[in-house]
């Protein structure tokens, strides 16, 4: 049976699946696409599903566990079966629903989860092993021997059961995020949604209307309903056009509202370029919207359920309303000999529509008994089976026959290539349950509907989503909600379009009798995507998994990409049957975001790769680039790590040279990244006293002091220097890493703890380019920079002095005599815009003194040589005592952390305390993170006495050196300890020394 286009033109008439113009199709143009390597034609407006169906392709995929042949179940986003891979190479996207993928010229699509091919899939044999794949198989099988899991079972299962293949290369597409605000968000552009949007928009409020489909109309595109005497889809287009002409309305098609979050916030995924071969240059494939709305009208309609019967998953067995959608929207006949199986009045529409399209309906199988069915049978010539079920189906790669069991239990085999099934409609209530509101079960609809007021007063559910099953009701509820959200009383203005539809009537039948019991009958699928059968549900219930939450997790029901949109209610009703409870008592699982799958790329937006997070660039960045500096990330900052020179072959060579330059001549380093906070006010001194462990009452104007901050739990938080610039004016520095946390801490202390203190503070980190100039020649260099009227002599401007100065002929600057390197050193700060020029000027002025820039690596080596703690030592687990700074803790004032730091255990000298370490062999590297053990002790936790926090090769000492924490450390100077590196499995030896390796008397920095 080759499915081909319109017959005629003198050739032998062939069977066609396209019967005319669909209301969503541009039949004047043809486009070419391929599926599994074969080329096909379709029209603009086709989905991959409709185009394949029009070409007679019914087999679209293999099922998850049993590799059973599967075709289309639906025509919309609820599709569990027809998952395909779209595009190729890096752009390949797996698990895309063929029912929402719009075709374009050149589209390459392929089926997935089959090997070697779709029609011949050797893993179809899984069906014979189905006993191992039953409910809870993950938990029961493959458990022994344990070592087999990773090596044998898991790879085997992964190949046998699965979905599509992720692309092997990074996603080449762009994504972006955007925020929008509106008064009313309307979700869904069917009759209810369009009515709500019109009513709200006409009242003047700002409306965003989101429709996940490419075209408005919702079910109106799949029906022959007349509205005001014209086809319903025309009414929808007119309404849509009216809305498009209003300036207070934003219409978003191909945009799925996938989540409702707290505070009226919604996630919307806009598929901007998915329907075209590739996004336009620079533009996003998909756009993630965050919509903040005062009100939300949920007009999401409903999702039709199948009925569970043996072998109900063959290609050609489709949902009844989806059959109508293919007929009317796409002009496609899904089959030529149809059986319609329904438990509700809506399913009977399919009988009339198929007949109208020229399809022979051979049998109507209805669960109940209705006069409507009798009328239809008479009109169409179909055989009517009332009170009947389908007991089985046949056909290897597509259905060829149904076995109908009539009300008397007699079975009738009927040849057919299409079974249209309707198990009734489930309102699409996902958005109403995202915040935990439980839906309620309505027996008359045999469905869950949102509880009254579910989700909050800003949420208005209308149309089928609210359990209003008629078009007339949809218009009415939509209009009412639209007026309500806009605050207008629309009751007077409300004009309902003229529509005439019958009431919805359902006989709650979920499955053929005995479907879950008969082992000999074929598998009866409840959840097509996860291959969960009626038997699995019975088995789970028998094994005690009777809560819906347990059932779901035990059987994998309602998981994966479709989240059980077509399966959930059937499964619950079956569980209710088995356990002798009502559906209400059984309850339902709640639906969490996202409503439809969302690519991680879309959630990341523009924040990926180099743009994952912003970079902060110090003022000398461009100059450092010109110097060929190698950069490292330090928090958000990009800092020069070292400055290689021609001829240097290894980074260590460069770093050693930089260290030697500072120790012997003079070097400079951009330290603008340290946090800088400007504090002013009469109470700053008191404020500092409470923030730092040490005292600030006696710091004179023009001096700086080292300060240590604790957290309230007594552990060290941060350190830095604070300088007093004026009577009530201070500038605090923080570590680079903690700048933002310290600012937050200061705000907390000021606003929440001591609001009575009259202080003001603000960050000036970005205001000043601050450069450390260090080394014995630094004073000489500074004399070239600082204007000559300022006295730089040691007597006038000694260690820890601070002053406002001018530099380079009048530029205002701040000068500090601070030293991290232990050398005679200054920090000079100029307004940030001049930082770049200051670096150039320092290179020039310092040339005669042998100046060179140094990076963070040399900085780190020198601070280890001086025993200054930094990030690795201030790791949030060390106390002032641990750092050898216990004597700083003032006993004369309250400060953050004082009481907790005073706890005996935190002052215990047996705690690992800061020491220096030197390997016995100078060239034996000390490794950070290595454990310190008593010499000769076994490498066990019990003998662990500390660790190495920082280490470096010290060109000054001529040895590897390290800073570490050792129990009773200061009392053990001279001891030899074992250094155990568990990663390399090595034990070396090191001698415990003072943490100050260079110039222990501090003579250099005072010089």
């Amino acid at each position: 049976m080759s499915g081909l286009r319109v017959a005629g033109r003198g050739r032998k008439a062939r069977r066609t699946f396209r019967h005319g113009a669909g209301n969503g199709l541009e039949t004047g143009r043809q486009i070419r696409f391929t599926f599994d390597g074969k080329s096909y034609l379709g029209h603009p407006g086709d989905t991959l599903a409709s185009a394949l169906l029009a070409n007679g392709v019914r087999l679209l995929g293999r099922s998850f566990k049993y590799h059973r042949p599967r075709g289309l179940l639906s025509a919309g986003p609820e599709e569990p079966n027809a998952l395909v891979e779209l595009r190729q190479g890096a752009a390949r996207e797996p698990n895309t629903r063929a029912t929402i993928a719009e075709i374009f010229d050149g589209l390459v699509a392929s089926s997935q989860n089959r090997w070697p091919g779709l029609a011949l899939d050797v893993l179809g044999i899984n069906g014979f092993f189905s006993p191992v794949f039953t409910a809870g198989f993950y938990y029961k099988t493959f458990m022994w021997p344990a070592s087999f899991w990773e090596k044998v079972y898991e790879p085997l299962i992964r190949r046998a059961a699965g979905l599509g293949r992720a692309a092997d290369a990074a996603d080449p597409d762009r994504y972006e995020k955007i925020t929008a605000f509106c008064d009313v968000l309307v979700v869904g552009a069917g009759p209810a949604g369009l009515s709500a949007a019109l009513a709200a928009a006409e009242s003047g409020v700002q409306v965003i209307l989101c429709e996940q489909d490419a075209l408005p109309g919702g079910r109106l595109r799949g029906e022959r309903t007349l509205i005001d005497g014209r086809p319903g889809w025309m009414w929808a287009q007119d309404a849509h056009r009216r809305l498009a002409g209003m300036t207070n309305v934003r219409i978003m098609t191909r945009s799925c509202v996938f989540a409702r979050y707290d505070g009226g916030t919604y996630g919307v995924l806009e598929r901007v370029f998915d329907h075209l071969p590739a996004p336009r240059e620079g533009q996003p494939r998909q756009r993630m919207w965050r919509v903040v709305a005062e009100h939300c009208v949920v007009a999401t309609g409903g999702i039709e359920r199948p009925i569970v019967f043996p072998n109900n998953d063959r290609p050609g067995i489709m949902l009844a309303a989806s059959v109508r959608t293919y007929l009317h929207r796409f002009g496609v006949i899904p089959g030529h000999r149809a059986v319609v199986y329904t438990n509700n009045s809506d399913g009977l529409r399919t009988v009339a529509d198929l007949h109208h399209a020229g399809v022979r309906v051979v049998a109507i199988v209805e669960a109940g008994t209705s006069t409507a069915a009798q009328d239809l049978a008479r009109q169409t010539g179909a055989v009517l089976f009332s009170g009947a079920t389908i007991a089985n189906t046949f056909g290897r790669l597509g259905v060829t026959a149904a076995v109908i069991r009539d009300a008397h239990g007699r079975e009738h085999r009927v040849g057919c290539d299409l079974i249209a099934v309707s198990g009734g409609w489930s309102p699409d209530i996902a958005l109403t349950t995202h915040q935990g509101a439980r839906p309620v079960y309505r027996d008359d609809l045999a469905a869950f509907v949102p509880a009254q007021g579910a989700g909050g007063s800003d949420l208005h559910v209308v149309g089928v989503a609210a359990g209003v099953m008629t078009d007339r009701g949809a218009f009415e509820s939509g209009l009412r909600a639209g007026y309500l959200t806009s605050g207008a009383d629309g009751s007077g203005k409300m004009r309902l379009p003229d529509v005439n539809d019958a009431a919805y009537d359902i006989t709650p039948v979920w499955q053929g009798p005995g479907t879950g019991n008969l082992p000999r009958a074929g598998k009866a699928f409840v959840d097509f995507q996860n291959d969960v059968t009626a038997r699995d549900i019975r088995l789970a219930a028998q094994e005690g998994f009777q809560s819906v939450e347990h059932l779901k997790r035990y059987t994998t029901l309602c998981m994966a990409t479709d989240q059980g949109k077509t399966a959930n209610v059937n499964a619950l009703a079956m569980l209710a049957d088995i356990t002798g409870r009502s559906v209400s008592e059984t309850g339902t699982t709640l639906i969490r975001p996202p409503v439809q799958p969302v690519a991680l790329g879309a959630l990341a937006g523009a924040h990926r790769g180099r743009h994952f997070r912003p970079f902060r660039l110090p003022p000398t960045h461009r100059w450092a680039e010109e110097q060929g500096a190698v950069f490292a990330e330090n928090g958000l900052w990009l800092r020069a790590q070292w400055y290689p020179r021609p001829g240097e072959t290894h980074w260590l060579e460069t770093v050693n040279r930089e260290v030697e330059t500072v120790r012997n001549r003079v070097g400079f380093c951009d330290v603008s990244t340290l946090g800088k906070i400007d504090l002013q006010g009469p109470d700053v001194r008191v404020f500092l006293d409470r923030l730092y462990v040490n005292g600030w009452q006696k710091l004179p104007v023009g001096r700086a002091r080292y300060g240590l901050m604790l957290r309230e739990d007594g552990f060290v938080f941060d350190d830095g220097t604070t300088a007093r610039l004026g009577e009530n004016h201070y500038v605090m520095t923080t570590t680079t890493a903690k700048a933002a946390s310290v600012m937050q801490h200061l705000e907390f202390c000021h606003q929440c703890l001591w609001p009575e203190l009259d202080v003001q503070f603000i960050s000036v980190t970005d205001e000043w380019a601050q450069i450390a100039v260090a080394g014995p020649n630094s004073r000489d260099v500074m004399r070239q920079i600082v204007d000559p009227d300022f006295d730089l002599s040691n007597a006038a401007f000694g260690f820890m002095a601070a002053a406002d100065v001018t530099v380079c002929g009048g530029l205002r600057a701040r000068l500090f005599r601070l030293s991290f390197s232990g050398e005679l050193a200054y920090e000079i700060a100029v307004p940030a815009r001049y930082g770049d020029a200051l670096a150039r000027r320092l290179m020039q002025a310092g040339a005669p003194y042998g100046i060179a820039p140094y990076g963070t690596e040399a900085l780190g080596v020198m601070r280890i040589e001086k025993g200054h703690p930094a990030g690795a030592e201030l790791n949030g687990q060390t106390t002032a005592h641990d750092l050898g700074m216990g004597r700083l803790l003032s006993g004369r004032k309250d400060f953050i952390g004082r009481r907790m730091a005073d706890r005996a255990a935190l002052r215990d000298p047996a705690r690992p305390t800061l020491v220096g370490l030197k390997p016995l062999r100078v060239d034996a590297p000390l490794v950070c993170g290595a454990h310190l053990l008593p010499k000769g002790a076994a490498a066990t936790a019990a003998s662990d006495q500390g660790w190495i926090a920082s280490s470096a090769w010290s060109p000054t000492v001529g040895s590897w050196i390290g800073l570490g924490f050792l129990q009773n450390g200061p009392a053990r100077l001279g001891d030899v300890v074992a250094v155990h590196n568990p990663l390399a499995g090595t034990v070396t030896e090191a001698v415990v020394v003072s943490p100050v390796f260079v110039d222990p008397q501090g003579e250099r920095l005072h010089g």
Binding site: T27, G28, A244, V272, D678, G810
Partner: protein, 219 residues
């Protein structure tokens, strides 16, 4: 002064345009933060108003004076005052406030960008999560917020058409790049290929509908 130190630009490129949309670095001005001490807000505001023609308003609305001064919120109990470049604004304010407020020079701490042109609001909305509708963010409105991960002070210069970003200098290049990328991403709803239906332009079925369709299936 400082004849040998030349100021460096905070960004590599001072201006980019895409169609009618432009992103430009704005010239530097003097910028000073003012934080009144306890009980001094009224007095400081009055003093600044008398001298510069702008007051410290409690709202998030920039105040401008014909002399080229502007005051807007910089945070909880803090304001920024902007004035002509090289106008010694910090020194003036220190003198004016006479110890009644913390006055801190911020001229170099922040960089200003202007995003301007049709669709500027949509581009800004890709970065800034605040309500930019005319009803919520009129001309001269100020918002302290985030542009992506970057803290900014956003000012509306012309409703929907022109926005100014005040950004920490070290983050200026990143923000410039981020806005530029957002501009390349296009204005949502403006691409004719992507939004035909949104403008009410449908595929018109090329064949007239079957007259039999003019029957309601259920009627």
């Amino acid at each position: 002064m400082a004849d040998i130190l030349r100021p460096a630009s905070p960004v590599k490129q001072a201006r980019v345009t895409i169609g009618d949309l432009g992103l430009a670095l704005l010239p530097q001005k003097d910028l000073v933060s003012i934080g009144p001490f306890r009980g001094q807000a009224d007095a400081v505001s009055a003093t600044v108003k008398a001298a510069l023609g702008v007051s410290l308003s409690s709202g998030f609305q920039e105040q401008d004076s014909p002399e080229g001064y502007a005051v807007f919120r910089a945070g909880h109990s803090q304001w920024f005052c902007r004035g002509p470049e090289g106008g010694m604004l910090e020194a003036r304010l220190v003198a004016l406030c006479e110890g009644r407020a913390a006055v801190t020079d911020q001229s170099d701490s922040r960089v200003r960008f202007s995003l301007c042109g049709p669709g500027a609001a949509a581009i800004a909305a890709k970065l800034v999560p605040v309500d930019l509708r005319a009803s919520a963010f009129a001309k001269d409105c100020v918002a302290l917020t985030l542009a992506g991960h970057i803290p900014v002070i956003l000012t509306c210069r012309e409703v929907l058409l022109e926005y100014e970003f005040l950004v920490p200098r070290s983050l200026a290049q990143s923000l410039f790049d981020d806005i530029h990328i957002a501009m390349k991403g296009g204005i949502p709803g403006s691409d004719p290929i992507c939004s035909r239906a949104d403008k009410g332009d449908y595929f018109i079925p090329s064949v007239e509908m079957d007259p039999r369709d003019d029957r309601n299936a259920r009627a």
